[in-house]
């Protein structure tokens, strides 16, 4: 495997997706990254997976979790444990329960699409920004992906991109390296990273 080959394949992916999604769309990063993740895992119902994130956003069971489970989720995740140390120490379930529906799909269920959608905030360890932004950004992503999702060629292109990257040995690279590669290929707003919608 050559890292350059993978990078070239991802660059072609960015060019292709540019034709389906709005120019230099902030959606290219999460869509391309999740296509790569699923291709590497040899999951070929990529279309279902990408559309499935819409379901993941509103899982009914998230709002019914007991207090102990929510506390355990925050306590067991090192980064969240640090960010919400005060609330965990106080047992402030009002704040933790409000943050849970946004943070659990990202860190608890590890949805690749959502992780890419909030890459900038995760890297900055700004977890409270994910909670604030979650509803608006995911709603916007849902709206903007809709026209492309209706085009069968979009899904064919996405499958080919993912399969090509996987065949070149993408699985040998760390997730972070793949993400950095895609970020480098997309000319997103400087300093914000391409996963952030322009007005966010």
């Amino acid at each position: 495997m050559s890292k350059k080959d993978v990078e070239a394949a991802l660059a072609r992916g960015v060019d292709i997706l540019d034709k389906f999604l709005p120019l230099k769309s902030w959606l290219i990063f999460p869509v391309l990254y999740s296509a790569c993740v699923w291709a590497v895992r040899r999951v070929f119902d990529y279309r279902e997976r990408i559309l499935a994130w819409q379901v993941w956003l509103d899982p009914d069971f998230v709002r019914t979790k007991p207090d102990g489970f929510i506390l355990g989720f925050f306590a067991r995740n090192d980064a969240l444990n640090l960010a919400y140390a005060d609330e965990i120490a106080r047992g402030d379930l009002r704040v933790l329960r409000a943050a849970f529906p946004a943070l659990y799909p990202v860190f608890g269920l590890e949805d690749a699409f959502l992780k890419a959608l909030f890459k900038a905030e995760i890297e900055a360890a700004d977890y409270r920004a994910i909670v604030v932004e979650f509803a608006a950004r995911t709603a916007r992503a849902r709206d903007e992906i809709r026209p492309a999702a209706a085009d069968p060629d979009f899904w064919k292109a996405l499958q080919l991109i993912g399969m090509e990257a996987a065949s070149l040995g993408l699985h040998l690279l760390r997730d972070e390296a793949i993400q950095d590669m895609i970020v480098g290929l997309i000319k997103g707003p400087a300093g914000l990273g391409p996963s952030v919608p322009p007005e966010a």
């Binding site: 119902d45 279902e48 993941w56 069971f61 019914t64 007991p66 102990g68 489970f69 590890e110």
Partner: protein
């Protein structure tokens, strides 16, 4: 002569269109059956792909020549894909075209779709009544599973806002319903998953752990539920270990280590899908 020729063309067209329609319906049935086979083998992803194909073909058949069969296959496929409002509409269309006797399953599917749409519009009490009715009397598994899942989530959400005594009684009644479902179909992983959720709410961590293990072994209908079940299992296991004396921890830790090895987990608390 020209009249005879145009009649022949019309006849040929009718035969060709009819054959095409039959082919679409036939393909829809074949893809639907393939999806069922995959689902039984716990190959959820392949099942979804087959059902999507079945839906495309059934939709084509419904457009070309609407029939009870084409709308039924379309509704069944939509139900399997969780598209309940569309499934309800398809089953109602099938009803309008007329069913024979012994097809109560179609009515159950339509009712469940109706309840789901009530719930989406905030009519939770009405939805709960229909779900309860489906759970009590339906034998149509997709409708039964959806009704069980939706009813459990609705009751858990409502129970959060009531006093502890009332909450305890509500959850105990819910548990009895889930016990009945487990008795009826012990091999359904979803019922064990729902049981584990309610056990967790009632603080019965050992039972919740056992039910989550069974749910994982039997298979769950979607990856999101599977991952949530893994999280529930690890949560209960960790809490149980903390609550036991060092002497009592050994058997539980050994059992969990065996399960973790069987499932390919990285260790007793880290499922394979978790990022390192």
């Amino acid at each position: 002569m020209r009249y005879r020729a145009s009649r022949a063309v019309a006849l040929l067209l009718a035969v060709a269109l009819s054959a095409a329609c039959l082919t679409s319906l036939g393909r829809a049935k074949r893809y639907y059956a393939e999806g069922q086979d995959h689902a039984r083998a716990l190959e959820t992803e392949l099942a979804v792909v087959s059902w999507k194909r079945a839906l495309d073909e059934a939709g084509r058949a419904c457009r070309r020549r609407p029939s009870t069969q084409s709308f039924t296959v379309k509704g069944l496929t939509e139900a399997n894909l969780g598209r309940w409002p569309e499934a309800g509409a398809s089953f109602l269309q099938a009803f309008a075209l007329g069913f024979g006797e012994g097809e109560a399953w179609a009515s159950d599917a339509a009712l469940t779709g109706l309840a789901a749409s009530f719930e989406d519009r905030g009519l939770e009490a009405a939805a709960l009544r229909i779900y309860a009715q489906i759970i009590d009397r339906s034998d149509f598994k997709p409708a039964l599973m959806l009704a069980a899942e939706r009813r459990t989530n609705l009751i858990l959400a409502r129970a959060a806002g009531v006093d502890p005594g009332e909450r305890g009684r509500t959850l105990a009644a819910l548990l009895k319903t889930l016990d009945r479902l487990v008795d009826r179909d012990f091999a359904c992983g979803l019922y064990h998953y729902l049981h584990a959720q309610v056990d967790g709410h009632l603080g019965d961590l050992r039972r919740s752990y056992e039910e989550a293990v069974m749910a994982r072994e039997l298979g769950l209908p979607s990856e999101k539920i599977g991952r949530d079940n893994d999280n529930q299992l690890v949560y209960c296991y960790t809490r149980l270990l903390d609550s036991l004396s060092p002497a009592d921890r050994g058997p539980l830790a050994a059992a969990q280590a065996r399960w973790a090895a069987k499932w390919g987990w990285r260790d007793d608390r880290t499922p394979a899908w978790k990022k390192e």
